[in-house]
C-alpha cells in the first residue's frame, strides 16, 4: 500500500503527523497492528493458546497422564476427540496440556537467548573495539555449527531435561539477538542523549540499561516473537529426536515421536500433535510479521 509514498505525500511532515505525536509511540504501533487483519488473527490464536495453556486442567476432559491400557490406540471418537495413545491416554487432553510445555519452552528459551544475547550485543556494541570483535567472533563460531547439531550436542552434554532443552535452544539462538542488539546499540550509541548521560557521569551499566536498551526494544520484540516460534519448532525437533522431554510429560514433539511407531495403524497419534505445533508456530509467525510491520512502517509492504 505504500506504493503511493513516492508520488503522494504521506503523513510525514504534514498536519496529520503532528496530531499523532501527542499519543505514545506504542499506541501508534497498536493502532497500526489493529488494522492488520492477519496479525490480529495471529495474535488472537496466540492469546487463545495462552488461555488454553493456563486453563488446561479445566479444558482437558481427562487427566493427560492417566493410563488405561484397555482403551489403548482407539481412533478419534466422541469420547476421545483425538483418539487414545498406546497407553490409553486421551490424546486430546495431552494435546491441550502439550500447549503448556511448548509455550513454556518457547518463551523461556527465547528469554535465555534474548537476555544473554542482548547483553553480549549491547556490551559489544557499546564498548566496541576488541571486546566487540571478540564477542562477534564467538557468535560466528556458534553460527558456524548447524543449530540442531549444536543443540543436540548441548543436550547430550548437559543431560536430558526440560531446562537443558531450553538452554540448548536458547544458546543456539544467542547470536541473532546479539547481532540485533549490537546493531541498534551502534546506532544509538552516538546519539546526543547518550553523550549527555555520559557527560553527567552516569555509569556504563546505567547508560546501557536506561538509555540504550530501551531504544533497542522494537527489534528485540520482533526478533523474540519470531524467535518463540522458532524455539518451539526447535524444541519439538529435539524432543522428536528423543532429547529433552521426560515422559510422561505431554509435549507435542515427543508425542509425535512416540506416535511415529504407530504411523501405519494409528496415524492420528502423529497427526494431531503436528497440527498443534503448526498452528502455534504459524500464529506466532503471523503475529511477529504484523508486529514487525507495525513497529517499523518502513518495512511495511
Amino acid at each position: 500500500m505504500t506504493m503511493s509514498e513516492k508520488t503522494v505525500p504521506a503523513s510525514s511532515g504534514s498536519g496529520g503527523a503532528l496530531r499523532e505525536k501527542r499519543r505514545s509511540p506504542w499506541w501508534e504501533v497498536w493502532r497500526r497492528l489493529r488494522r492488520n487483519k492477519a496479525a490480529v488473527a495471529g495474535m488472537t490464536v496466540v492469546i487463545l493458546l495462552l488461555f488454553v495453556a493456563v486453563f488446561a486442567p479445566l479444558i482437558a476432559p481427562y487427566d493427560p497422564n492417566q493410563t488405561n491400557i484397555k482403551i489403548r490406540l482407539q481412533p478419534p471418537s466422541a469420547e476421545h476427540l483425538m483418539g487414545t495413545d498406546n497407553f490409553g491416554r486421551d490424546m486430546f487432553s495431552r494435546v491441550i496440556y502439550g500447549s503448556r510445555i511448548s509455550l513454556y519452552v518457547g518463551f523461556i528459551a527465547v528469554g535465555i537467548g534474548a537476555v544473554f544475547g542482548g547483553i553480549l550485543g549491547a556490551v559489544g556494541g557499546y564498548y566496541g573495539g576488541r571486546l566487540d570483535n571478540f564477542i562477534m567472533r564467538c557468535m560466528d563460531v556458534l553460527l558456524a555449527i548447524p543449530q540442531i547439531i549444536l543443540a543436540i550436542a548441548i543436550v547430550g552434554a548437559l543431560g536430558t531435561s526440560l531446562l537443558n532443552l531450553m538452554i540448548a535452544v536458547g544458546i543456539s539462538q544467542l547470536p541473532r539477538y546479539a547481532r540485533v542488539v549490537r546493531a541498534s546499540t551502534l546506532t544509538v550509541r552516538g546519539q546526543e542523549f547518550v553523550e549527555a548521560a555520559k557527560a553527567i557521569g552516569a555509569s556504563d551499566t546505567r547508560i546501557i540499561l536506561e538509555n540504550i536498551l530501551p531504544n533497542c526494544m522494537a527489534p528485540i520484540i520482533v526478533q523474540s516473537t519470531l524467535g518463540v516460534a522458532q524455539a518451539i519448532l526447535a524444541a519439538a525437533t529435539l524432543s522428536f529426536l528423543g532429547l529433552g522431554i521426560q515422559p510422561p510429560t505431554a509435549e507435542w514433539g515427543s508425542m509425535l515421536s512416540s506416535g511415529r511407531q504407530f504411523l501405519r495403524n494409528a496415524p492420528y497419534l502423529t497427526f494431531f500433535p503436528g497440527v498443534a505445533i503448526s498452528i502455534v508456530v504459524l500464529a506466532l509467525n503471523i503475529f511477529g510479521d504484523g508486529l514487525r510491520d507495525s513497529l517499523d512502517p518502513k518495512l511495511r509492504q
Binding site: 492417566q66 493410563t67 489403548r72 497407553f87 490409553g88 536430558t160 531435561s161 521426560q246 515422559p247 495403524n265
Partner: protein
C-alpha cells in the same frame, strides 16, 4: 550400489534397476547398520548377525541353544581345567589360507590381549593358556574349573580370525576387509547404509543356496515394515515392531517368525539408594506392577511376565518356575506399610529413549503411583545410562540382560558382588548368591550345575534387587519367497540354510 552425486546418476539407476536382480539375493533389514566386522571389536547385535554369516567358531549353538560342533569336530575334558578341541581338516579362509589350530590360538590370544580392547574378553577371562600342539588340535587351560567355557566359545565375539588377513588390513580390518571361514564372504560395506555378502563356494559344509546377502540398517520401526511391504527388503530377522505383528501374522503374503528371546527387561534398583536397601520395599514394588499390562501395552502380547532372573530359553533355566510376583497392589501396600513407607516415597526411574524401556517406565510409573510411590522418569542417553548405572545411579533404572545363553552368563555378571562397579548395577551383595554362582561356574557336571542354578534363581527372586518385568519374544517376518529361515533366540540367525523360491 552407491548413488550419491547428481540426479543424472539417479536416472541411470532407473535403467539399472530394470535389469533383473542377482540370481538369489536376499535383503535383510536390521535396526541399525553394523559398526564393524571385526568380531573382536564389536558388541552390538546387528554387527553380530553379519559376523555370524562370515565367521565360524570352535563350537556353535543350534536353534534350541544347544551346543553343536563347528570348526571343532569334537572336544574333551581330560580334567576340570583342560579343554581339548579336535579341529576339522581341509577348511580354508576366504582369503585362501588354510585353517589350522594356529588361527584358534591367534584369535583367542587376540581377544585376550588388552590392546585389542575386545568387549568379548570378558568371556575368556578364565582362560589361563591356549596351545596348538599340532595343526588340528587346540588345548585351552582355564584358571579354575569353568563350566560355561563351551557357551563362551559359541559367542560371535570369539569367532576365529586369520592372522594374515588381519595384519594385511591393519586398522582397516573389519571395515574394508573381513575374512572368516563361514558360508558367506564379505563384499563391501557402505557405511551407515548396508553391507553386502556373497556366497563362499568353498564353505566346508558345501556352498549356501543364496548367492548374495544384503543387510540394511533401518532405524524406524514403521519404515522397516513399509520396506518389507514394498519389497525393498525380504526379511526382518528380529526387531519386528511388536505393534504390527498381529496384523502381519494374519496376512498370508508374509511368513512370520516368533521365538522366546534370551533377553529380559527389568527395572533395576540401586540398593544403595534409600529405600531400595529394604527387601520389603523391593518386594512391594514387585507386587505393585502389573507385568501383564506391560506385556500387553508395550509388547502387544509378545512377551511373558518374568519367571525369575533368567529367560526360559537360557540353559540352566528351571522349567518348574512360574511367573514371579503376581500383580497384587493390596499386598504391595501392606509390605510398604511394614517397611514403614505407608505413605510411599519419591524416587526416580532412569531410562534411555528406546521405545520399550521408555514405555515400560511410563507404565511402571503409573502403577507405582497407585500404591503411593511417586516416581519421576528421567531419560538419558544409552551411554550415560550404562555408565551412571554402573557407578551407582540415583534410583531405579530400566535395563535388560541377554547374557551368553548360559545361566552363568545370565546371572554372574549381574548379581555377583564381584561385579559391583560394573555390571552388577544393583550394587547388591549377597554372600549366598555369590557362593551359589561361584559353585555353578565351577561345576562341570551339567546336571549338578542345573540344580545349583535352580537354587540361585529362587534366591534372587526372593531377594529381588530389581523389579522383575518380562522376557520378550523375538519377532521376525519375511516375504513368502524366503524359505528355511529360523529365528534364533539369541537373535543371531544363520542364513546358510535359507533358500528363495519364486
Amino acid at each position: 550400489m552407491k548413488v550419491f552425486r547428481p540426479v543424472l546418476c539417479a536416472l541411470l539407476l532407473v535403467a539399472a534397476m530394470s535389469v533383473p536382480a542377482f540370481a538369489a539375493e536376499i535383503r535383510l533389514a536390521q535396526v541399525a547398520d553394523i559398526s564393524s566386522l571385526d568380531p573382536h571389536k564389536v558388541s552390538d547385535i546387528y554387527s553380530a548377525n553379519v559376523i555370524r554369516q562370515i565367521y565360524s567358531n570352535l563350537v556353535q549353538v543350534n536353534e534350541n541353544m544347544e551346543i553343536v560342533p563347528d570348526l571343532a569336530e569334537s572336544w574333551e575334558n581330560p580334567d576340570d581345567l583342560t579343554w581339548i578341541f579336535h579341529l576339522r581338516k581341509g577348511i580354508t579362509f576366504h582369503n585362501g589360507e588354510p585353517f589350522t589350530a594356529k588361527d584358534v590360538k591367534y584369535s583367542i590370544e587376540r581377544i585376550r590381549n588388552p590392546e585389542t580392547a575386545s568387549p568379548g574378553a570378558t568371556h575368556l577371562k578364565e582362560v589361563q593358556s591356549v596351545e596348538a600342539p599340532d595343526d588340528y588340535t587346540v588345548k585351552i587351560v582355564t584358571k579354575r574349573p569353568f563350566a560355561p567355557m563351551l557357551m563362551s566359545l559359541t559367542r560371535y565375539e570369539t569367532s576365529i580370525l586369520n592372522e594374515k588377513a588381519v595384519s594385511a588390513s591393519g586398522a582397516d580390518y573389519g571395515s574394508k576387509a573381513a575374512v572368516g571361514t563361514g558360508p558367506f564372504k564379505f563384499v563391501e560395506w557402505s557405511r551407515g547404509d548396508k553391507v553386502t555378502l556373497e556366497k563362499n563356494p568353498e564353505y566346508f559344509r558345501g556352498p549356501a543356496v543364496l548367492d548374495r546377502v544384503i543387510y540394511r540398517g533401518i532405524p524406524e520401526d514403521a519404515t522397516r515394515l513399509i520396506e518389507l511391504e514394498s519389497g525393498g527388503v525380504d526379511l526382518i530377522p528380529g526387531n519386528f515392531p511388536y505393534q504390527e505383528f498381529a496384523n502381519i501374522e494374519k496376512n498370508d503374503k508374509y511368513l512370520t517368525y516368533k521365538v522366546p528371546a534370551m533377553s529380559t527387561l527389568y527395572m533395576g534398583l540401586n540398593t544403595e539408594v534409600k529405600p531400595f536397601g529394604d527387601k520389603l520395599v523391593r518386594q512391594a514394588m514387585n507386587y505393585a506392577v502389573d507385568k501383564q499390562a506391560i506385556v500387553d501395552a508395550v509388547y502387544f502380547g509378545f512377551a511373558a511376565p518374568s519367571r525369575g532372573p533368567l529367560s526360559p530359553v537360557i540353559w540352566g533355566f528351571d522349567p518348574t518356575r512360574t511367573a514371579v510376583y503376581p500383580y497384587d497392589p493390596v499386598k504391595a501396600k501392606e509390605l510398604l506399610k511394614q517397611a514403614g513407607y505407608a505413605d510411599g516415597f519419591d524416587m526416580t526411574i532412569y531410562s534411555d529413549n528406546r521405545t520399550e524401556r521408555r514405555s515400560a517406565a511410563e507404565l511402571i510409573q503409573a502403577y507405582l503411583a497407585e500404591v503411593g510411590i511417586r516416581a519421576n522418569i528421567e531419560l538419558m542417553e544409552w551411554s550415560a545410562l550404562l555408565s551412571t548405572s554402573a557407578k551407582g545411579i540415583g534410583g531405579a533404572f530400566m535395563l535388560g540382560w541377554t547374557g551368553t545363553g548360559d545361566a552363568d552368563g545370565g546371572m554372574t555378571p549381574v548379581y555377583h558382588s564381584a561385579n559391583i562397579g560394573s555390571s552388577n548395577r544393583f550394587r547388591y551383595k549377597s554372600e549366598g548368591i555369590d557362593a551359589l554362582l561361584d559353585k555353578g561356574t565351577a561345576t562341570l557336571d551339567q546336571d549338578a550345575r542345573k540344580k545349583v542354578y535352580a537354587e540361585v534363581q529362587e534366591l534372587i527372586t526372593e531377594e529381588c534387587p530389581l523389579v522383575f518385568m518380562i522376557s520378550q519374544e523375538l519377532l521376525g517376518a519375511s516375504s513368502k519367497k524366503v524359505q528355511g529361515f529360523k529365528l534364533y533366540p539369541n537373535m543371531i540367525s544363520p542364513l546358510y540354510t535359507v533358500t528363495l523360491s519364486e
